[in-house]
């Protein structure tokens, strides 16, 4: 039965999503229903992780079509959970649960009567993320990519106002990205005749690396670069995430781009295993250069903003550069660092967007000057902000420090010094970005106004949640060595 866990992790939120659309728009019922299901999902994901840890990589054939006896190709669609997939699956489940709970307090303000549809998409998105994480079929990944995109479009667009145009740009870029990915899969298919990633990898390894493969790689990577929002292809992201409803961005922002990173890791490490470092060194230089540029650009974009949510959204663009660069350093430490940064960044982004919710709920705005006096009004929120900012600056012993240190180690070892410089400059940029916010919160005490209403309980709760998530970054940081050794190193084959 434990073999079925892998499909349950995907089907459970899927089923929840479909059923949710039929339920009435009752806030209390929905909170209960959603959190129960997400707790169950967390349990399943944890069980899957345990299963994978104890018994090794799990391969699951949906619909029971085992490999074809004649040429040992996979007839059906396979799911695969190696140890990092299991970990990531747990991460997705946990982020979804926390994001869900953090978003509840914004429902009255931003969701209203659309609650069933909103939550249906929320769960479908979680299912698609799980699917992206666990699928072992190149085409199925495309389908998952599109479900996650479609759900995201809906979830972002209902924010209203400027969210519509932002969503439209997202749709155009997202569709082009997914289509590029599809072209890449097509190029692989025409040369190999299979779609299963394991079979594809075997087939690629057995053939000469010809033009079509290089192109396939190029299109897969370009497609994912669009999804990851790396610098010149990023412009859809800040607006989309900023104008999205808070309950949406708290789920989408931490996970969406990270899963694109994970897919890129799979393409580099599972699909083109061993091919990249040998033949495409010049490429990797170009990509790392792009990543370095993206890091700097993302950070400076973020510096120019005054809206908290936009500041954080622009940071996602920079963070994507970290991971992209790490994956392409052609050094195993870089890849390990990138994957660890993925985990760390997902948690950090979650905390940041929870902070946005807390700020919005407790002071009613999210502009830089709205933060004024937050230190007195909601110390937990500021604590969360401070903790996350240390993480993003890279202050030990936060997780961010260790991911950065590992990335830097990889970069120094492989001689990509421009990446080192970009990382360090970005850290200093983050210092400026965050201390600008913290200064406003810390140095401008509010004048006690007449009739100042009591602090909203919702804001306090969201602040506490954010602080808890931010604190977990330090736990992750302190156990970083174990996480890297146990969950990441075994799957990096470079």
């Amino acid at each position: 039965m434990s073999d079925q866990l892998i499909i349950l992790v995907i089907v459970w939120p899927l089923l929840t999503g479909v059923v949710t659309s039929l339920l009435p728009a009752n806030k209390r019922l929905m909170t209960l229903w959603g959190s129960l299901n997400l707790v169950a999902l967390n349990g399943l994901a944890a069980a899957l992780l345990l299963r994978v840890v104890s018994q090794g990589t799990l391969i699951y054939t949906v619909s029971g079509w085992n490999r074809d006896p004649a040429d040992a190709l996979s007839l059906g669609i396979e799911l695969k959970a190696n140890i990092f997939c299991g970990f990531l699956s747990c991460l997705i489940a946990a982020v979804a649960l926390v994001g869900f709970l953090g978003g509840v307090c914004t429902w009255d303000r931003q969701v209203g009567h659309r609650l069933p549809h909103f939550l249906a998409l929320f769960f479908l998105l979680v299912a698609a993320f799980q699917g992206l994480c666990l699928s072992n079929d190149a085409f199925n990944l495309y389908v998952m990519l599109e479900i996650s995109s479609l759900a995201t479009y809906g979830l972002i667009a209902f924010g209203g106002g400027r969210a519509y145009l932002a969503t439209f740009h997202y749709i155009v870029m997202g569709t082009i990205g997914a289509s590029f990915y599809l072209i890449g899969v097509g190029y692989l298919y025409i040369k190999t005749g299979t779609l299963n990633i394991t079979d594809l990898a075997d087939s690629i390894a057995s053939q000469q690396l010809s033009k079509a493969f290089v192109l396939a790689l190029a299109f897969l990577v370009t497609g994912l670069l669009l999804k990851m929002a790396v610098f010149p292809l990023h412009f859809w992201l800040p607006n989309a995430y900023t104008y999205a409803p808070d309950a949406t961005s708290v789920l989408v922002a931490p996970l969406s781009t990270k899963l694109a990173v994970f897919l890129m890791f799979r393409i580099l490490d599972d699909l083109f295993i061993g091919v990249i470092p040998k033949s495409l060194v010049s490429w990797s230089w170009a990509v790392v250069f792009l990543a370095s540029f993206g890091i700097l650009a993302g950070t400076s974009l973020s510096l120019a903003q005054r809206d908290l949510k936009k500041i954080f959204s622009c940071l996602i663009v920079a963070e994507a550069g970290y991971m992209l660069g790490g994956l392409w350093l052609s050094d195993s430490r870089g890849t390990i660092g990138a994957l660890f940064h993925l985990v760390n960044d997902a948690v950090a982004t979650l905390a940041l967007f929870l902070v946005v919710i807390a700020v919005q709920q407790s002071v009613g705005g999210r502009n830089l000057h709205d933060v004024k006096g937050l230190f007195q009004r909601s110390p937990l929120t500021v604590l969360a902000l401070i903790l996350v900012s240390f993480n993003l600056i890279g202050v030990p012993p936060s997780a961010g420090f260790f991911s950065k240190a590992t990335l830097l180690t990889g970069a120094v070892a492989s001689g990509h010094y421009q990446f080192v410089v970009a990382l360090l400059l970005a850290s200093l940029g983050n210092l400026v970005i965050f201390f600008r916010i913290i200064e406003v919160a810390y140095f401008n005490p509010i004048v006690a106004e007449e009739g100042e209403s009591a602090l909203s309980l919702d804001g306090q709760r969201a602040g506490a949640l954010a602080a808890a998530v931010a604190a977990s970054l330090y736990l992750i940081g302190l156990s970083s060595y174990n996480i890297m050794e146990t969950f990441i190193k075994p799957v990096v084959s470079l």
């Binding site: 079925q4 499909i7 349950l8 089907v11 899927l14 089923l15 479909v18 059923v19 659309s21 039929l22 699951y60 054939t61 949906v62 619909s63 029971g64 079509w65 074809d68 040429d71 007839l75 059906g76 669609i77 209203g112 009567h113 659309r114 549809h117 909103f118 249906a120 998409l121 479908l124 299912a127 699917g131 079929d137 085409f139 199925n140 389908v143 998952m144 599109e146 479900i147 479609l150 759900a151 479009y153 809906g154 979830l155 667009a157 209902f158 072209i183 190029y187 298919y189 025409i190 040369k191 190999t192 005749g193 299979t194 087939s203 010809s210 033009k211 079509a212 192109l215 396939a216 190029a218």
Partner: protein, 255 residues
Amino acid sequence: MRGLAILCAIVVGGILLWGSTDFPAWGRLDSPASVNLSDQYIEHAFEETHVPNLVSAILADYRNYDTMFETTVVFTACTAIFLILRLPLGPLARHRNTTHVQAARQRLPRDPILEMACRVLFPPTHLFGLYVLTHGHYSPGGGFQAGVILGASFILLAIGFDLRAILARFPEGLFVPMTALGVLLYIGTGVLCLVLGGNFLDYEALRVLAPGISKEMIRSHGILIVESGVTLTVGSVIFAIYANLVSRGNQMEGL
């Protein structure tokens, strides 16, 4: 922007063309795509599933996991459109829109010929949709196609009469749950297989319920079940999307 677009298009196109010179010749029998997996499907799919339409067999059996998510894609899109467009209906809005529609009626008189033609066309279209669904095993067709035809039949009515008229007979409370029910039918089948001891969507596990049927035939029936789910979802989603798009989400006035 235009220059950038031309540059993009030319670069992408050029690269693609350059890469396609590496492809096997078009239509070659020994190209990798034609020999590696597809011959297995062609030669064995029928004996394994009893479905002569290989596309249906692969779609709803070998790669039915993809198809499940494909149905989910449709459902997701429908939910997203609802989330974006659907407006709440207060009693006041209902009243205002009723009068508005009456006013529109006066301006655009009903056309009996058009209405009658739609009325007459409606049942055969439905029937054809069901035929495409059930005969999808043997001829071009299947759940998606059938769903689109069914959905189109409702859209035809909505165009011939107006949206309110069709919504009175086929109300939102009916077709919106149907979008979910179709997906549920599909996923439910999968979960049932799981419960009965097989892998997810492994129809063979259903033989526990119907022991007399051969394992090929049970796959064939399983395909029919999930295709019905697809039809249900696609048909209602098509109409739901139409109803929301033409009425800007208030589902009152039609085009």
